[in-house]
Subunit: 394 residues, 2 copies
Amino acid sequence: MPTLDPVELVISMPEEERRSWLRTLAPDDAADLIQSAPKTQQPALLDALDPWPRSEVSALLAYKEDEAGGLMSPRFARLRPEMGIDEAIAYLRRQAGQVETIYYAYVLSEEQRLLGVVSLRHLLSAPRDRLVRHVMRTRYQSASEQDRGEAVAKLMSDYRLLAIPVVNRAGIMQGIVTIDDAMQVQRENADQQLQRVGGMEALDGPYLATSFGRMIRKRAGWLSALFLGEMLTATAMGFFEQEIAKAVVLALFIPLIISSGGNSGSQAATLIIRAMALGEIKARDVFQVLRRECAAGLALGSVLCVIGMVRILLWHRLWGTYGEQFARVSLTVGASLIGVVLWGTLAGATLPLILRACRVDPATASAPAVATLVDVSGLVIYFSVAKIFFLGIV
Amino acid sequence: MPTLDPVELVISMPEEERRSWLRTLAPDDAADLIQSAPKTQQPALLDALDPWPRSEVSALLAYKEDEAGGLMSPRFARLRPEMGIDEAIAYLRRQAGQVETIYYAYVLSEEQRLLGVVSLRHLLSAPRDRLVRHVMRTRYQSASEQDRGEAVAKLMSDYRLLAIPVVNRAGIMQGIVTIDDAMQVQRENADQQLQRVGGMEALDGPYLATSFGRMIRKRAGWLSALFLGEMLTATAMGFFEQEIAKAVVLALFIPLIISSGGNSGSQAATLIIRAMALGEIKARDVFQVLRRECAAGLALGSVLCVIGMVRILLWHRLWGTYGEQFARVSLTVGASLIGVVLWGTLAGATLPLILRACRVDPATASAPAVATLVDVSGLVIYFSVAKIFFLGIV
């Protein structure tokens, strides 16, 4: 069951067929398709459209694919405030074939300023002697063109909207985002984020229907990349071979130390990636986020430090596990945990922010990638701390 | 900004207020609310409803919250196949206040069998001299009561539906799931899965608006639990202290080996959790899944084995890094990688399946939990393999 890429399909069509196929698409869907085609093919696809949709689609192409502007359709149902109820219904009835949805209608002033929103359901149950301006809602939710698609989807879900108007700064109506597009954005983002955090590329198909070879390729790529990164740990450990030889007890805590760094890093990264996707963190919040994660890293590191030291002292008291050096071991592990968790948290929180500043998808800073980064530095922190507490011994 | 729990709010209301508040809820929302209340409070809440909605809500309470049956509303717009178009529109207009949506109407036979679906938009633009049965769609998507909420949401998103009918095995219409509920289920599931995979409890609020103390509690809980699990690695390593003392070179690859197991485990777990949430994997598929993951584990382990052995042999050739024992080291690392990745993949795939069989949310088998489990066993595999290749030495 091969998944057909619609872009490839359209590109491979003969010109006539391509033209008639593109003609069936709503302008927002056509813009989506053209946006995901290779840059060299985009002009040809745009040319295949008829003049009027072409100007609409060109306008949409100016927006990013995952912004409200890139998701919206300019074909929405418009009403005038002075229309009567029956007149409005009859008018919507006539527009039914040309607009994205007739279930919400947008009441505009002469200057295309959005005055209010009214649902078809509300129009149908309103007293027939009123005017549109009497029944429209003047307090409504709206999005602006640069809002992130996922944030718009959340707003629509929170307010249970089937469509949301997109207005520019001057209050001029630009288009609507409908729930089907919002839901698709929400699902695609969630899938991508989850699979990145879980350390793989998205399968793009049901598990059992994906061919074995295809699945292995998708999984082996990420796994090999993480493995190559993780190889640096062997290099880093090489520098501390002498120390381990002198105090083998240090080796016992290596997995504990590096996994604590990795877990705190992946936790911070997941939190920040999610908050950025929902538009909760803006560029101006960066320093506040870093201050917060710095404090969080110290607090979380201290919690693990206490648990770790209690565990070592308890085991020593009960079974004498760690010999004479138990105090040094416990101090080394405790101090390293604070350092490693603080570093892991900061690295996990910073990486997505840096990636976004470089215009790379923040979700690339997936948990496993952060964990790999943190593993190597965690080893350096651990053995550096050990050198202090085992002064003269290692 | 404390998040108010609606259940607590309703329980704390005086009876009169509670009654009038519950009265404003649609039956599916009331059922949701009652379902998330403590078991002891449920009868009191149900009693506060009026008789007719109470019987509707009771019927819905028989379903699980995340099944189509638990999400559906019994208040949908019904039409008869022999109605005229205008008659149907007028009828929908009168039903507008009582049903969940009038934008889709369901055409039922006398025995409540679902014959077809028609959208209000389609009715409004249909020729007025036709009957409902001429314009209704007889090929439509539907869900059954036990379908998982997230699978229903995906179906609605794929087919761009605003509502989907739920029918039982006999084809009798039970209710509809509307897009707002489907979208909420999709978002909640995605958030929960992502945060579990990232190793934390869901924040239930925007990042910057969540108080520092609340955030630390949510994060420290998971981090401490993982830390306690990971402590077993120190115990496991304790058993191999002698081996490390004799061949320190073995310690160098510990992080590499255990992270490979952890990454392959979290990859498999993420994949299976996702596929189960979308209903792609049924109980009868378990053996097929395990066979597939067994093969995938072997294939992925072999890839890493080759990369790992090439790296060790290359470093040895270039810098003589691993001394005389380079061949033993390379064989130990290579063989362990196959074992660890195979085991990690199987554990990651099996854990969610076992949890579901025990009626625990499979997403609890989050990537970090799997990684912790796999870390401990990875060490055992690695040192057991080392004992074979370093026979007589360690």
